[in-house]
Symmetry: C2
Subunit: 151 residues, 2 copies
């Protein structure tokens, strides 16, 4: 993997893989986020969660999304060359639960330099979050905007 | 609009519109969120932002997403009958900036009861966040899971 600090648009190519490392879902963090932004009963209430279709407390999907984004931020996006995203598609495939260890990975799908603004390019990627057994619990298809070297 | 507390799967139908009210983007909140989750220079650094393609500080897209979700949570989803979402597609169409007043709206696109689990159904919707001039700055196409009355 190239130095994360040096990645311009030209450094990405289809098939490129970035291993993003892992984190353990923290019960207190999950709960604090859910209370603030997403207080559905199965995110914040142990008893209600046990009786729900999820069979126990689960992370807010937005917390999962943001934690994945943090992994991507550290291992794929770039403070010097990353310029945000026009949009993305995400899938919550399995509940995320406290104590789970989760592993992030990004695969570059395609790259395209802007015709109207050659100083930027678009990098489409699929990022996944997997549990210790390798099962993907979350997937995000993102288009990132990056500076070109000439930009 | 029906009482938000009473909405089961059967209460949704294509074309139904929910006006979600509005909020004003708060500079301090935007900055606090970006520092914690998304510290790209154009989200947290006034000078860097001024020199960026965005021409000034912008909200983290995740903050926009979460604020829109809060509007949906209060005016569309339901603590008693809402069961989360398998995934969604979102688009950041324009930067969100501090001081902007933003209006949320959801339009129901389609509804489908689960065949394997008739106690739940899927409600596909498109939600938008618009500025005072009516320009859409953010759009999310979501599939929500709701309890059926028989469930």
């Amino acid at each position: 993997m190239a130095d994360q600090q040096s990645l311009y648009f030209e450094d990405f190519h289809p098939g490129q893989v970035f291993e993003l490392g892992s984190f353990t879902a923290d019960a207190a963090d999950m709960l604090a986020f859910a209370r603030q932004y997403d207080p559905l009963p199965f995110h914040v209430d142990q008893d209600a969660a046990a009786g729900s279709i999820y069979g126990g407390l689960t992370s807010s999907g937005w917390y999962t999304a943001v934690m994945m984004y943090r992994l991507m931020y550290n291992g794929f996006l770039n403070e010097q060359t990353g310029l945000g995203s026009p949009g993305l598609e995400l899938a919550w495939l399995k509940p995320m639960r406290a104590g789970q260890r989760l592993h992030g990975r990004v695969v570059v799908e395609s790259v395209r330099q802007s015709k109207s603004r050659p100083e930027i390019g678009f990098v489409a990627s699929t990022a996944t979050l997997s549990d210790d057994g390798g099962e993907v619990i979350y997937r995000v298809r993102n288009t990132g905007i990056f500076k070109t070297r000439s930009g």
